[in-house]
């Protein structure tokens, strides 16, 4: 009886579903051909591929433990120096920008903690080097999108650096000066979502900067330009609310604000959650869309020399 039941179950499972309208898992086959096997969640290799790339990105950076520890040390030292500057400023102007002294100090240490994961200095991507060496041609013929491939690896990198370079400066700041933390799980969640959105926005910007090498050959000029904009307008040096007048309004609307100022404000509970997340989401989507267009453009530009 049990054997018969399993036979029926097999028959039912073996019955061909009508999914000829779905795209094929095998790019060489198409709907209606013999080899057509429709993409279903089980056959879709894309999601596990990118999940694995996130893990590889994490592991690649986890190899260089000492470099990350040294980075955390440097970020912490600079955090202390900057905290004193902000303390002096808030002693002269208590309650400036709606922060009290402890919140200003917290701001300083969060921004130092975000330097690693948001990769505020330099692109942190292998693309410029690969464009110069010509390896980019290989990346472009892979059956996976260059944009999503790099994004996955970069998210892995950011997660690792968040743990190793993000947490120590915060702990040191808490031990030396005292920092605040989000009031409840809702605020923590808002911060984490905002952190993720900031990472994507940061990647989108750095991806565009990296692609520019394809036209400019040397990325140092654009790199330095991007460095100035990122340092100044991300909120890494000073809260953007301190920027006077029109400059401040401009700084708060530009994409760099999504990388540091927005997550920090949500951590401190100083900004409306939904609006801030929408702001970050818009910039992340816009930058990724521009990145996708850029990828298409370099696909047309790359010439593979035979040999």
């Amino acid at each position: 009886m049990a054997a018969r039941a399993s036979f029926i179950a097999l028959r039912i499972a073996g019955r061909k579903a009508d999914n000829s309208w779905l795209p094929s898992a095998d790019p060489r086959a198409g709907p209606g051909t013999v080899r057509h096997r429709a993409i279903t969640l089980r056959r879709c290799k894309t999601i596990p591929l990118y999940a694995r790339l996130v893990r590889y990105g994490f592991r690649k950076h986890a190899t260089y433990v000492w470099a990350a520890v040294a980075g955390a040390f440097t970020n912490s030292v600079f955090g202390i120096l900057r905290a004193y500057i902000l303390i002096a400023l808030w002693q002269a102007r208590p309650g400036l920008a709606g922060y009290d002294v402890t919140q200003a100090v917290t701001f300083c240490f969060i921004t130092q903690a975000l330097i690693g994961p948001m990769q505020l200095f330099g692109t942190g991507l292998a693309i410029p080097e690969r464009i110069r060496s010509g390896d980019i041609a290989l990346d472009l013929v892979r059956p996976a999108s260059l944009l999503l491939w790099s994004l996955s690896e970069d998210l892995g990198r950011a997660c690792y650096l968040f743990l190793v370079r993000g947490i120590p400066p915060m702990l040191l700041g808490a031990a030396l000066f005292g920092v605040t933390h989000p009031a409840g799980p809702g605020q923590w969640l808002a911060f984490l979502v905002s952190f993720l959105a900031g990472m994507v926005a940061s990647f989108g910007w750095r991806y565009l900067v990296s692609l520019s090498v394809c036209w400019l050959i040397d990325e140092r000029g654009v790199g330095a330009f991007s460095l100035v904009l990122t340092i100044l307008f991300s909120g890494m040096l000073l809260p953007l609310s301190l920027f006077p007048g029109l400059l401040g309004e401009l700084a708060r609307a530009l994409p760099w604000a999504a990388m540091v100022q927005a997550p920090t404000d949500l951590y401190l509970g100083k900004a409306p959650v939904l609006e801030t997340l929408a702001f970050q989401g818009c910039w992340a989507a816009a930058l990724l869309a521009a990145g996708a267009l850029g990828t298409r453009a370099i696909r047309h530009k790359v010439v593979i020399q035979g040999g």
Binding site: A67, T74, I85, D218, L232
Partner: protein, 262 residues
């Protein structure tokens, strides 16, 4: 020694000049990157008139003096901290058998003349601060002295950082906290920092003599931490002691250097 330094520096300059457009662009952009620090000071003083009792022009004076010394060292000495890359790649062995001191070869290694843009930026800020402060000419003789002191102290710090990398080959970035950290620390009046930190950078690592102590003399102000007046003039002594220490640390590092051999 000086001749070989400039010969090597000139070689790297000619190499960098091979791409004139890139050379000009990097110089100008270096100016802007350095300008972000000034922007921060200006934004802070857009929100307040005094920081720990110091006005905007006084802070810019401190920034200018410290940064001029720092950028001169960044231009002429800072490449010493690339030593860990040479140790790892094995190219440091080649430097040791050449007839020029290893320190000079390292200091001129990839000499980047484009960093001169930052020196210019610091000099402009200092010039503005001096003219805006309307300082009496009787005390201005201290300005070149303090810049020379600062160059020696920062140079000694970079040499120490290089010497440390014989030990810290895996994590050379640790020394950035001391070299670039010192550059950042001295940009602001030390009055904003905690008393213990200031004691540390006065008596242990003499960063206070780069610009803080002599600047108190030039600006004719009392030290908020109450150090006696004669300390304003101890800068050259502190610089000399630190330079000697750094020199012996460097020699010790080279003497104990063991090539990986292969």
């Amino acid at each position: 020694m000086v001749r070989s330094y400039f010969l090597l520096a000139w070689t790297w300059t000619r190499a960098a000049m091979a791409y004139p457009a890139s050379f000009a662009l990097t110089t100008v952009l270096g100016l802007f990157v350095a300008g972000t620090d000034v922007a921060v000071i200006l934004i802070i003083f857009a929100n307040t008139t005094s920081l720990a009792g110091f006005s905007r022009e006084e802070t810019l004076f401190l920034y200018g003096t410290a940064n001029l010394a720092f950028c001169l060292c960044d231009l002429f000495v800072s490449n010493v901290d690339r030593i860990s890359q040479h140790i790892k790649a094995g190219t440091f062995d080649t430097m040791l058998i050449r007839p020029v001191s290893a320190w000079i070869q390292l200091a001129t290694d990839r000499f980047l003349p484009t960093r001169a843009g930052r020196v210019l930026q610091a000099a402009i800020v200092l010039g503005y601060a001096i003219s805006a402060l309307d300082l009496g000419s009787g005390r201005l003789w201290m300005v070149p002295v303090m810049i020379a002191t600062g160059v020696v102290i920062f140079g000694a710090l970079w040499t120490l950082a290089g010497a440390l990398q014989f030990v810290l080959t895996d994590a050379p970035e640790v020394t950035n906290a001391f070299t670039y950290g010192s550059g950042q620390l001295t940009q602001y009046p030390l009055a904003i920092y905690g008393r213990d930190l200031v004691r540390g950078v006065t008596y242990a690592l003499p960063l206070a003599f780069i610009n803080w102590q002599p600047a108190l003399y030039v600006l004719d102000r009392d030290d908020p931490f109450g150090t006696p007046g004669f300390m304003r003039f101890l800068g050259p002594v502190a610089a000399l002691v630190l330079a000697l220490l750094a020199g012996s640390a460097w020699r010790l590092g080279i003497r104990h250097y063991r090539s990986t051999g292969s």
